[in-house]
Amino acid sequence: MMLKRLGTIILLFLIFASPVRADATTVSGISGDLVCQCGCMMVLSNCSHAGCAVREAMTTLIAQKIDGGQSKEQIIQSFVAQYGEQVLASPPKRGFNLTAWILPFAAILGGGGVIYVALKKWVRRGRQSQPSAMVEAEAGNEEYQHQLEKELKDFTEKGFR
């Protein structure tokens, strides 16, 4: 239960505390959250088409809206109303889009759980088999010596991998 709660806390932390630069209501700040609609699929501030008319029009509109006193959220929403969700550089963290945001972390946490269980099992198995291995080594000393030599030779050939 405790582990589950810790997992949820880590998951929420990872999703919402990931590196996001707190951009102010500036043209470069807002254009970093939008995709240029010229077809290049680049973030608006990164559209590298020389003399791209769409980029110019979009950034001019952002500047006008900032001058008009609109907030970052209002400006972004006006672009969504005009172009649809595809104008956003990343899917909003709600509804079906949450799958994209959560699934990678959920998969890693799930995989972590599997690894933890497997490790515990292997460690238990390792502890159980150790004494018998030692007895065998004492019983068949010559065979053990042979095995040791083989493994050492093997290690020399393969080295640390």
């Binding site: 590196p19 497997a118 080295g159 991998r161």
Partner: protein
């Protein structure tokens, strides 16, 4: 000539089909003559595809514009290196280049002198030839590079001006060689499954091949990032474009594979997992080619759009279902011998590293294909760009970096607390001191602070471990420190090659963190004689110039760069107007120092003589390229062959049989 090239490809296809079947039939029926014949067939395919490549290269160099490919991707004013690079500028040429590399690698596989894995070679060769059949089918049908036009144009279209950069000569072939290289480990994995030889033999055989492919793909990605940085003119190096992601995903999974194979070889663990990883890696390389060639997802690379998509989808389906089905069928022979003594051991860190690397690849995969999923499920078009990838992958990569430092210090099987403290104490103290120093130097963003401190921790742990091992050798052998240091590396190249690669990753991380969190950008319109200021730099716009070359008109703007009042440089960003391309191309001016890059883009100019510049200061970017060089060095050290012991007359006789 073009006809000979096409016929050679057709013959190569026929021989590949024969060879692929004859290898399997020969080895199953123990028909030595048939296996030998298949081997000769494989070598003949190499010869035939080489002839095709030579003919296409000759057609490019001699400007044979009757061949559509030559007319589409070259022109008579191009220099020799770019004419050769036109081989991989378009779909048809790059698929031919792929087939050629595969045929060369296949020839090396069958000609290589080997002590282990001989029995696997016929099976693996058969798989390689089946892959070759796929590419040759494309080349003789939908992607024929020798297709002739009904007339001969007087001049070719030339290379896309964006591609005229040294990056074009290096990035595609190195990346492609990386992609193709993974066919060999995959082929040996399937060979092990087919032949039921499921021990370590196949892993021993493919170690160097995997390392080579991994290194080429890694270096190819870094060259691609550098190329984007200096050529695309937006001030960044990685846009999380689908095609960039396609190059990164197999590299991440292959990194996991390189680590987890050590677990199998040292401890007999993760046998099924290793198979899954190499199958995934190979599938992702084909998926990457599918993304590049099909144009299913819009990207800056969509100059290579074509109707190849369905072919690749079918091939990916065959690979995935075929190999995973075979793996399931053979899973009884892949039972793990897993036993561990402690939860705190190198095995655990490797498992975590595998989880995070594959997790990162999954996150990138999901982000890359999510627009398609969203459209299919909701019918809504969305974009998944850099902000998503940065937010999702940032913490995962940070955790990977932490593990990079920890895993080299934790011993196999069991790590005692005493030893852990001894190994980590000083590096941890040094990293904390670094964090405090950075805080007082003005680094206040907690994420950057943590990330830089982690990089410091990793670097210090590796250097400290290296120092301790050098000191031990110095004491044991009474060698001086320098000799002990070199002796240490030379005696165990895979281990220390790995250390160097880890240091390279830290350098690259430093470059990414610095440039992502502390870049400054400013745009200004200046009249000649006017200045703008960005960070410590003052830029004075001197004048604009114009000149023409055979193929283009060039506009240059000269700027004097002052730092705290002292003239330190003169930079000239440019804009090219090519005769054969409508779009102008931006040539940025970059002043690089180890601390930061001053990056100037000439945006445009007005009739009144005013000129607009976009200027960026990108901190620590050069550490990415230094990291790339160190990565290459580390990979080379790990890859460097060990001296072969002289074989006894019995061994020589046995080899001849």
């Amino acid at each position: 000539m073009a006809d000979i090239g096409y016929v050679a490809l057709f013959l190569a296809l026929a021989v590949s089909v024969y060879s692929a079947i004859a290898f399997i039939y020969g080895v199953k029926r123990k028909h030595l003559a048939l296996t030998r014949s298949a081997r000769n067939g494989l070598l003949a395919v190499c010869g035939l595809v080489s002839i095709s490549v030579a003919i296409l290269a000759y057609a490019l160099v001699t400007h044979n514009f009757q061949i559509e490919y030559v007319a589409s991707y070259s022109s008579s004013d191009m220099s020799l290196p770019y004419l050769i690079s036109a081989l991989w500028a378009g779909n048809d040429g790059s698929l031919l280049f792929w087939a050629w590399l595969l045929s060369l690698f296949a020839a090396v596989v069958v000609l290589q002198r080997r002590d282990a894995g001989k029995v696997l070679v016929p099976y693996a060769s058969s798989i390689i030839m089946f892959t070759q059949v796929f590419f040759l089918i494309l080349l003789v049908s939908v992607s024929n590079p020798f297709h002739k036009l009904a007339f001969t144009p007087a001049e070719g279209m030339g290379l896309n001006p964006m591609l005229e950069n040294p990056g074009m000569i290096l990035h595609p072939p190195v990346l492609l060689a990386g992609y193709v290289g993974f066919t060999i480990p995959f082929a040996f994995a399937i060979a092990a499954l087919l032949s039921r030889r499921l021990g370590d033999e196949w892993l021993i055989t493919i170690r160097r091949w995997t390392l080579l492919a991994w290194l080429l793909l890694g270096i190819g990605n870094i060259i691609g990032a550098w190329w984007a940085y200096v050529e695309l003119g937006w001030g960044g190096y990685w846009a999380w474009d689908p095609i960039e992601n396609a190059g990164l995903m197999p590299w991440l999974v292959a990194t996991a594979f390189l680590h987890s194979t050590m677990m199998q070889r040292r401890r007999g663990m993760l046998k099924v997992w290793n198979m899954v990883l190499i199958i995934l890696t190979f599938s992702l390389t084909i998926f990457g080619t599918f993304l590049t060639r099909s144009g299913i997802l819009s990207s800056v690379h969509t100059f290579a759009e074509s109707a190849l998509g369905p072919f690749f989808l079918v091939f990916i389906g065959i690979i995935l279902f075929g190999s995973l089905g075979l793996l399931y069928h053979r899973s009884d022979g892949l039972k793990s011998e897993a036993e561990m003594e402690s939860l705190v051991s190198r095995e655990s860190t490797f498992l975590l590293n595998n989880l995070l690397l594959v997790g990162a690849a999954f996150a990138i995969f999901l982000g890359t294909v999510f627009p398609v999923i969203s459209e299919a499920v909701r019918g809504v078009k969305i974009s998944v760009g850099a902000p998503f990838f940065n937010q999702v992958n940032g913490p995962i990569f940070l955790a990977i970096i932490l593990l990079t430092g920890i895993c080299v210090l934790i011993g196999w099987r069991r790590a005692s607390v005493k030893k852990l403290i001894r190994s980590f104490l000083w590096p941890l103290v040094a990293a904390l001191m670094l964090g405090i120093a950075l805080f007082f130097l003005g680094i206040r963003e907690w994420y950057a602070l943590v990330a830089f401190s982690l990089c410091g921790l990793v670097l210090f742990t590796i250097l400290y471990e290296w120092f301790r091992e050098t000191r031990a050798r110095h004491r044991m052998r009474t060698e001086n420190y320098l000799k002990a240091f070199w002796g240490l590396i030379w005696a165990n190249r895979p281990r220390y090659g790995g250390y160097i690669v880890h240091i390279a990753i830290v350098f690259i991380a430093i470059g990414i963190i610095g440039s992502s969190f502390y870049d400054v950008e400013k745009e200004a319109t200046l009249m000649p004689g006017e200045s703008m200021t960005i960070k410590n730099y003052t830029l004075t716009y001197e004048n604009m110039d114009y000149y023409e070359t055979q193929s283009k008109a060039v506009v240059t703007a000269s700027l004097s760069v002052y730092n705290e009042g002292k003239l330190i440089d003169a930079l000239t960003p440019e804009k090219y107007f090519h005769q054969s391309y409508e779009q102008p191309v931006t040539e940025v001016a970059i002043r690089t120092t180890p601390l930061e890059d001053l990056y100037i883009i000439l945006v445009g100019w007005g009739d009144d003589g005013s000129t607009t510049f976009k200027v960026l200061v990108n901190p620590l970017v050069s550490w990415m390229w230094i990291g790339g060089g160190v990565l290459f060095l580390g990979g080379l050290v790990a890859f460097w062959p060990e001296r072969r012991e002289k074989s006894t007359p019995e061994q020589t006789r046995a080899r001849r049989k």
